[in-house]
């Protein structure tokens, strides 16, 4: 165990992963400079530029080439510099990466990881603040994972590399350096497909993932000050969703708030609401609330704060479920 930032934990995961000769890491500027966020720092020196590969600026090419490598028995880990630059590769992801197993009835597979730094809150330029997990979560054949702590960032990334199926791996930019915590050394994995009860509580279930876990925890603290006991669920995996953990919590609390920074409409929060009402309607004592980004482009630095779900909004949504 050592105390690491999330960036360091991810770096450590990749370093461990690269001890498997099937693993290659590829992306723009990840070699010489160690990536725009330095997640791959030192890996090219240590594992060689044959396996830690700087690529041309061509996201579809990166994903498509990695796909071919995966089919041939490698385990590529792709970095797309920002989630907002993943769309040129969308066709490769949807039409090939997600489907080759079904198309070939298991004969060919694409075990690969696509790392997507995501999320707003750092005053970045346009396209650098995306959180479009929903457009991946909707696609059969993909798994979608979102890290929220240094520990699970490492554990989930190593599990994703081990996974026999393609994994969209979302990394909250805002937490790369802000999140610090104990992280086991060596090959530490966190199971894909299981949510974590981050904090137990009895009055309301707060369901979130990734970067918004921070605000969600703060909101729970504030609610606690007022005597409201909030349970927090960190989804960690969006697909396949750990429905049982969510439902069990809401059955107990009777109230839920879903928090994500992606836009509201057709966001992943809608899926969670739908699931709760399908399986726990009669336990619900108030409408499930969604606290999300608005249905707008993420604003640039000046107005970004107006977009991001705030602690205050989460608290007030939780209160609404308690009044409702």
């Amino acid at each position: 165990m050592s105390v690491l930032t999330m960036a360091q934990a991810l770096n450590s995961a990749l370093d461990v992963a690269l001890s498997d000769p099937r693993v290659v890491v590829m992306g723009e500027d990840i070699g010489t400079t160690g990536g725009v966020f330095r997640i791959t720092d030192g890996l090219a020196e240590k594992h060689g530029t044959e396996r830690v590969i700087d690529t041309p600026v061509a996201e579809s090419g990166i994903v498509g080439a990695a796909f071919g490598m995966a089919v041939a028995g490698m385990r590529p880990v792709v970095e797309i510099q920002f989630m907002g630059f993943s769309y040129p590769a969308y066709d490769q992801v949807i039409n090939h990466v997600a489907r080759i197993r079904n198309r070939s009835r298991h004969r060919f597979t694409a075990p690969m990881v696509i790392r997507l730094p995501y999320g707003a809150g750092i005053g970045a330029a346009e396209h650098h603040s995306e959180s479009t997990e929903a457009v991946y979560a909707h696609i059969p054949g993909l798994k979608v994972v979102v890290a929220s702590t240094p520990e699970n960032a490492k554990g989930l990334l190593l599990a994703a590399v081990d996974d026999p199926d393609p994994v969209i791996f979302m990394e909250p930019i805002r937490l790369y350096r802000a999140a610090r915590g104990e992280v086991p050394g060596g090959r530490h994995t966190t199971p894909i497909g299981s949510a974590e009860v981050d904090r137990t509580g009895s009055d309301v279930s707060l369901v979130s993932y990734g970067a918004m876990m921070r605000e969600t925890r703060e909101a729970a603290d504030r609610l606690a000050e007022d005597g409201v006991s909030a349970e927090i669920i960190d989804l960690r995996t969006l697909v396949p969703l750990d429905a049982d953990t969510i439902v069990a919590s809401v059955v107990r609390t009777g109230r839920a708030v879903i928090v994500h920074e992606a836009p509201l409409t057709a966001g992943y929060g809608a899926e969670i609401v739908a699931l709760i009402q399908e399986r726990a309607l009669y336990s619900l004592r108030a409408p499930v609330q969604r606290v999300t980004g608005w249905d707008t482009v993420v604003p640039l630095r000046l107005a970004e704060r107006h977009y991001m779900p705030s602690v205050a909004r989460i608290v007030s949504a939780a209160r609404q479920t308690l009044e409702g």
């Binding site: 061509a58 579809s60 080759i100 070939s104 054949g141």
Partner: protein, 346 residues
């Protein structure tokens, strides 16, 4: 910039190459061409009878497909598309599988172990980069296998063609790009697909060689691709080959090509038939007669009919089975959905 297409055998069956070809080898190619054509006709007929969903006929393009895969070893990869059944078959992908896919059965996409060919690509353009990744992985894994990808003239307009070519150039992957330029992309003539005079010259943009070949000349295609394969295997990087050929029928069995092209054009190309020139040459060498032709046709027919029978005898699968190849193992949500689907289908 004009690149004269390489040719060894004229439409009249005259061999113009330096060394005389090996008669047995040519006979083997001729047998393949005959089987390829029979399959094409058979598949079209099956489609008319409603036994296949749709079919993309390749008549006229047999020489390109047979010639392209002849130089490949079994360990080499083939990444081709919907019109390339003949190429796939001669790289080991069974007719049965090709038929199954056309019948609308995903099990067609599962060729036997050891066959290094991906299921045919249905989207245009996306598959070429896969051949870059496959070839690259083979090199990283220390083998000398190469990857051949076949695509149409229309596919060269997709951005993915560019990215694949560029990656192959940058990493010098052992990839052979074979553009099967059949003159048309559905209703779009080659001349309007791109303003470059040839497809072969596009290689200039990527720093590796581009060559043009008469795609109706199986010997020329084989020679050109064999050189490209040798370069790739030897570590000298990728090659772009443009095979100039022609699609004699519609884009698919659902397409009426008379809406966009004139009969004379088709006739011109029928006169350059890829089988006939080989037959003529063999005949000239005293290496072809009608008995042998019948033997070839019967043998091919038997194989094809057996494949049809086998494909049609496969029992249809259950509702539950549509879930089973989404992931290696059923996820929890899919387990629930699967049981609902099984229940509903009762």
């Amino acid at each position: 910039m004009h690149l004269k297409p390489h040719q060894l055998l004229t439409p009249e069956g005259v061999h113009t190459g330096r060394a005389a070809p090996d008669i047995d080898a040519v006979r083997a190619r001729y047998g393949a061409l005959v089987e390829a054509r029979l399959y094409d006709h058979k598949a079209s007929a099956l489609q008319r009878q409603g036994r296949l969903a749709t079919y993309a006929p390749y008549e006229g393009q047999e020489a390109t497909q047979v010639g392209a895969v002849a130089p490949l070893a079994a360990r080499d990869w083939l990444v081709a598309s919907y019109r390339d059944a003949a190429a796939m078959f001669f790289h080991g992908y069974p007719w049965k599988n090709l038929l199954l896919t056309r019948m609308g059965d995903e099990r067609g996409g599962h060729p036997p172990e050891g066959v290094n060919a991906l299921p045919p690509s249905i989207t245009v353009g996306g598959h070429m980069i896969h051949a870059v990744g496959l070839a690259w992985a083979e090199r990283l894994q220390g083998t000398d296998a190469v990857a051949l990808t076949i695509f149409g003239d229309g596919a060269t307009s997709e951005g993915d063609f560019h990215e694949a070519m560029n990656f192959a150039g940058v990493y010098r992957t052992p990839t052979v790009f074979l553009c099967q330029n059949n003159g048309w992309a559905i209703s779009m003539p080659r001349s309007q697909q791109t303003a470059s005079e040839t497809i072969a010259q596009k290689a200039v943009a990527y720093g590796f060689p581009g060559v043009a070949v008469d795609g109706n000349d199986v010997l020329a295609v084989e020679e050109v691709v064999a050189e490209a394969v040798a370069r790739a295997r030897g570590g000298d990087g990728p090659t772009l080959v443009e095979a100039l050929t022609y699609r004699i029928h519609g884009h698919t069995t659902a397409d009426d090509h008379r809406r966009y092209r004139v009969e004379e054009e088709v006739a011109t190309w029928r006169a350059k038939d890829p089988l006939e020139r080989v037959r003529l040459w063999l005949h000239g060498q005293g290496a072809w007669d009608e008995t042998w032709q019948s033997e070839l046709e019967e043998r091919a027919s038997r194989r094809i009919e057996a494949a049809v029978a086998e494909a049609e005898s496969l029992v249809s699968f259950t509702a539950g089975e549509i879930f089973d190849a989404t992931y290696q193992e059923l996820t929890a949500p899919l387990r629930i959905q699967r049981s609902l689907a099984e229940r509903d289908s009762q």
